[in-house]
């Protein structure tokens, strides 16, 4: 699984790794310049994030896409999972997705 940050300023590689470890050490975290991330978001068809104004402590929230986009062996995406999909759902679905002949590499 690959996670792409929408807030590269705050999600430093170290902070990203630390946070992703709470989900699993095999989750890969990606970051880049805001421009690079913007290009990736456009390519994936994801809406741009919006940030709230900083509070008195300088803290702010980022409203961003939270779906997981599934890429199948044909390098295409046929399915997206919204926020709320559980690990048990992934486990059941991944087996099915990996065996669909029409989504295999040509």
């Amino acid at each position: 699984m690959i996670f792409v940050t929408t807030d590269p300023e705050r999600d430093t590689p170290v902070a990203l790794r630390e946070w992703l470890n709470t989900f699993g050490s095999d989750v890969v975290g990606l970051t880049g310049t805001p421009q690079q991330i913007g290009v990736a978001q456009t390519a994936a068809g994801i809406a741009s994030p919006t940030g709230t104004a900083p509070d008195s402590d300088g803290g702010y929230s980022v409203v961003h896409a939270s779906q997981a986009i599934m890429f199948t062996p044909d390098d295409l995406t046929h399915i997206e999972y919204p926020f709320g999909t559980t690990r048990a759902d992934w486990s059941a679905d991944l087996e099915l997705l990996s065996t669909r002949p029409d989504w295999m590499r040509a």
Partner: protein, 290 residues
């Protein structure tokens, strides 16, 4: 205004949250207890036993408050399975026995009669029934679908907390009820009951939670992370707490039961059968030897 802890509240914050519903369930019983004691004290004097009971009651209510209010209940309702379990253990192993032991027999009897629950109470506090009720509640309220559903709304969350507290009181009744006629006479039997009902049986679901390979609770799996604890680590911690915590309470209580039984036996041998306390107590205040 949120009046009870509930899941789905966004990222956890260390800024305290007020839960007026929780405060009400703390304040109302405390005021009722104090007023009832004051009314009672106008007649006879207050025995040491009554003061000990009061301390026990207030300690139990304080524990209930800590377990039901921010931050423990907030974390338990929506963020960490381990805090959910901590709440459960505080209710059933600390608050319930302290509150029950803090009720004078006349107060408990009066409450039960007022609510029309005296015969029901007597039925559910028989050791076998009490053990089944306690472990039944434990099982049902830790089923993933039940936790996810009840913790998602305030009424469900409150119901779960109250049911936990009530199940704890039922579980401890065969050992700690102030109504002596409801207690099994044998300390050995009481100890065996505690060991099996509260000590051993909870280990089974505890083991299941500890060794589950997947997150069981949607609520905690999807919650914003509070610490570096992963979802599975948090769940394993919750299971481990359920498995082992009860023994830290049950074993000392069993030891006290045996010690008191031995003391009573020694006293009856030393003084002789004519001075042996009667089954309903022999002190001036009518209090029973604890």
């Amino acid at each position: 205004m949120t009046w009870w802890c509930v899941s789905g509240q966004g990222a956890f914050s260390w800024t305290p949250i007020a839960y007026p519903g929780v405060w009400l369930t703390v304040i109302a019983p405390v005021i009722t207890y104090v007023l009832a004691l004051q009314r009672r004290r106008r007649d006879p004097g207050v025995s040491r036993s009554d003061r000990r009971r009061s301390i026990s009651f207030f300690a139990g209510m304080a524990t209930y408050w800590i377990a039901t209010d921010w931050p423990i209940a907030t974390l338990g309702a929506g963020y960490l399975a381990s805090m959910h379990m901590t709440q459960y253990l505080l209710y059933t192993l600390v608050a319930s026995p302290l509150i029950l032991a803090g009720l004078p027999d006349w107060m408990l009897t009066s409450m039960l009669r007022t609510l029309g629950l005296e015969s029901a109470w007597r039925a559910v506090t028989r050791p076998l029934v009490a053990g089944l009720v306690f472990n039944g509640v434990l099982l049902v309220t830790h089923v993933p679908g039940v936790v996810d559903t009840f913790r998602a709304n305030q009424f469900g969350s409150m119901t779960m907390d109250i049911v936990w507290l009530a199940s704890g009181m039922i579980a401890w009744a065969p050992v700690l009820t102030p109504r002596l006629e409801d207690r099994p006479a044998s300390a050995a039997f009481q100890a065996l009951y505690l060991f099996l009902a509260i000590g051993v049986l909870p280990m089974v679901p505890g083991a299941f939670i500890t060794f589950a390979g997947q997150p069981l609770y949607r609520t905690y799996e999807l919650a914003p992370r509070v610490s570096s604890l992963s979802v599975l680590d948090d769940q394993q911690l919750a299971g481990a707490l359920m498995k082992v915590s009860s023994m830290f309470i049950v074993w000392p209580v069993m030891a006290v039961l045996f010690y008191k039984a031995a003391e009573r036996d020694r006293h009856s041998v030393t003084v002789g059968p004519s001075s042996e306390p009667s089954p309903v107590g022999s002190s001036a205040s009518g209090a029973r030897p604890e």
